[in-house]
């Protein structure tokens, strides 16, 4: 059995508390506050203390889904990605890049936000990209 503690940043509010995720053999067991971070100084709120709980929830999406006959059904990554790319291309070719819009995410990493806005801007020649900063 292998027990590890991985230092990372809380996924909830904008405080940016650092915490340690407790991992036993690939499963998340718990969350502990990082004492070395000058912001949270070894403290977390109730959401932070439980930040590991939703990660391995049975409700998580585990496979790509495509709507077929009105229902979302599980498909392979290849099918889902090819379908998405071809639909986006089809719409861009028929109606122009400004007919597509992207919502990027205040929950995702900087790197992911950077890539999505880059894909939107270079792939479609549009600035139709926003996220929930106002919400």
């Amino acid at each position: 059995m292998e027990l590890n503690y991985v230092r990372t940043t809380c996924p909830y509010c904008g405080c940016g508390c650092e915490m340690l995720l407790e991992v036993l053999d690939g499963k998340l067991l718990g969350t502990f506050p990082a004492k070395t971070n000058p912001m949270n100084q070894g403290k977390l709120c109730i959401k932070g203390w439980n930040a590991h709980e939703f990660v391995q929830s049975p409700e998580r999406l585990t496979k790509p889904l495509i709507r077929k006959n009105g229902e979302l059904v599980e498909v392979s990554w290849d099918e889902a990605l090819d379908f998405t790319a071809s639909k986006l291309k089809e719409i861009k070719d028929a109606h122009g890049g400004d007919s597509v819009a992207f919502l990027t995410s205040a929950k995702c990493t900087n790197e992911e936000n950077y890539l999505l806005q880059k894909f939107c801007r270079i792939g479609f020649g549009t600035n139709n990209i926003d996220h929930c900063a106002r919400l």
Binding site: T8, T9, P11, C13, G14, C15, G16, L21, N37, P38, M39, K43, C45, K47, E53, F54, S57, E59, R60, L61, T62, L65, I66, R67, L72, W77, L81, T84, A85, K87, L88, I91, K92, H95, D98, V100, A101, L103, S105, A106, K107, T109, N110, E111, E112, N113, Y114, Q117, R121, G123, G125, T126, N127, N128, D130, H131, C132, A133, R134, L135
Partner: protein
């Protein structure tokens, strides 16, 4: 935030307005308690008697949407008593004369009339705030989510500049960001008007710079904001949409309209970790990875860039979102071949000057706040130290405007919205967390005893809440933490979501919806059912 969180505890006055800090930002609230223990005065302006009100030296309940009048009233007092920082105003600002003229219209008596706060309290607030050596303003969506949200923010900036509370330790104008990486999503150019690091898309030089960096043809036209996207889907100008890790069905105002808009899309793809109400409407759903299953960075509300580290493998066949975007782009015909998030970060540092000196190596031990333009730059905890970005700080003479939707006979109560301590946003994460769900398994509407009695409502009874946009059924909590004439709800619970009711009217500049004020009525459920049965 113009200043860092740690500084708050050394502030001599903390002015909290439109922020339920103990609930939404507990680790910031912690610093407010410390400041109080060190002798700071705490001023809380919030329409509800939130927990911070109980430790405040001054707590006032302003009428919903009256913040501009309150701040103008405070500035009127400060100027008439000569409490402003004359040297700061002289050396570092412009537009003072126009501000001074405008503020004359807001003697405390008039501000009192608009805000519902006593003139004496407005004078005390002004004296306390202006009298402190370093005073910090903290705010959140209570200030911004209005049709005059930009006016509210500019008014607070006026107040801070007038008293020299910018560019120094323990002071500042400090918006507390509600989401872990809302700062970063903005920094990265996840906005329709700017490239990464707020370089505006309408500037020819910026466009050229990014065309060179990305080897692509770009648009210099400002794109749609989220609410405009919803309108675009409805009027057919938008055909396709890709949504990464967001749940607009739960988080946008006027849910019925948002659902209709998304259902109108010819093609909707959603990348998420749960099957949210938004994902349920999609044509394709791609399973992303959570924060614990990937590497990357978040930028917190202090602009500090912090590491996110992979602890476990993604569940099932789910993948880190950055990989999904790379694969999608490649299949679209634009190959993206990044081998790791750190490689993407290095590209960000090249095109975003404020991130220019940052790398995974530098932020390994502890995050660094931007601007950090070069590898030897230590980062910038306090903004505007010697000069403002534009040179001199500009005062804006701003008059009070009422909220978009006012009460009437049909909708006689005002609804305002917010968060509860165990939950977060649309509940996607917290309601899938057994411990947090157990703390608060269902939503409710808070109502004052006086209104409850008049409506014949008892504590914990089910009631119907109706606005011009829709209706929901929710449990009533009778409480004296809210004044008569007003009710409060959260937007955590999709089965009784306040956003079915909220008003999608937008601020004309930043296009933020007016979540914080709309008109509703509350009805006893039995009467509604009896009337329905009689029909």
């Amino acid at each position: 935030m113009t200043n860092s969180i740690a500084e708050i505890e050394d502030s001599q006055c903390v002015f909290v307005i439109g922020s339920n800090t103990t609930v939404a930002h507990p680790l910031v609230a912690h610093r407010i308690y410390r400041a109080k223990a060190k002798g700071a005065k705490v001023i809380v302006a919030d329409p509800r008697r939130i927990h911070l009100a109980s430790i405040a030296d001054i707590h006032v309940s302003q009428n919903l949407g009256s913040d501009v009048a309150l701040v103008n009233g405070m500035m009127n007092v400060i100027l008439s008593k000569g409490l402003h920082d004359k040297a700061f105003v002289e050396e570092r600002t412009e537009g003072f004369d126009a501000l001074q003229e405008m503020v004359k219209n807001y003697p405390p008596e008039r501000a009192a009339e608009i805000t519902g706060i006593s003139a004496e309290d407005i004078v005390r607030m002004a004296e306390t705030y202006a009298g402190a050596e370093a005073a910090s303003i903290l705010y959140t969506m209570g200030i911004t989510q209005h049709t005059h949200g930009v006016d509210n923010v500019k008014s607070l900036a006026n107040l801070a500049m007038l008293t020299g509370n910018l560019g120094k330790y323990g002071a500042g104008v400090n918006p507390l960001r509600g989401q872990n990486n809302v700062q970063g999503a903005c920094d990265m150019g996840g906005l329709p008007n700017v490239y990464p690091a707020y370089q505006v898309v309408t500037d020819a030089g910026n466009k050229q710079k990014f065309e060179d960096a990305w080897q692509a043809k770009l648009s210099d036209r400002v794109g749609y904001t989220v609410m405009e996207m919803m309108h675009g889907l409805e009027d057919g100008s938008l055909k396709g949409m890709v949504i990464l890790g967001e749940n607009p069905v739960g988080s946008d105002p006027d849910t019925t309209h948002v659902k209709h808009a998304l259902e109108s899309a010819e093609f909707l793809a959603v990348i998420d970790i749960f099957l949210t109400d938004t994902a349920k409407l999609a044509h394709v759903v791609l399973p992303g990875a959570s924060y614990a299953e990937k590497d990357g960075t978040f930028s917190n509300t202090e602009r500090k860039v912090l590491r996110v580290r992979k602890a476990v493998e993604p569940v099932g066949e789910s993948k880190p979102d950055w990989q999904i975007i790379c694969e999608l782009s490649t299949r679209f015909g634009l190959p993206m071949a990044y081998s790791s998030p750190s490689e993407i970060f290095d590209e960000i540092a090249k095109v975003a000057p404020s991130y220019g000196g940052l790398s995974y190596e530098r932020i390994e031990a502890c995050g660094i706040p931007w601007p950090c333009p070069s590898p030897d730059h230590p980062g910038t905890p306090i903004l505007h130290k010697d000069r403002f970005t534009r040179g001199k700080g500009l005062f804006h003479a701003i008059e009070y405007r009422p909220p978009d939707e006012l009460i009437d006979d049909e909708f006689p109560l005002q609804l305002t919205t917010g968060r509860y301590f165990p939950h977060y946003h649309t509940g996607t994460m917290t309601r899938n967390s057994p411990t947090l769900h157990a703390e608060m398994p269902e939503g409710h509407v808070e109502i004052n005893q006086e209104d409850a009695s008049r409506l014949g409502l008892k504590d914990r009874e089910q009631a119907r809440i109706v606005s011009r946009r829709g209706e929901i059924v929710s449990k009533v909590i009778v409480t004296d933490s809210i004044d008569p004439g007003m009710v409060f709800m959260s937007f955590h619970f999709m089965e009784a979501n306040a956003n079915v009711l909220t008003n999608p009217a937008l601020d004309p500049i930043c296009k933020i919806p007016e979540y914080k004020v709309c008109a509703v009525r509350v009805e006893k459920l039995e009467q509604v059912q009896a009337a329905a049965a009689a029909e």
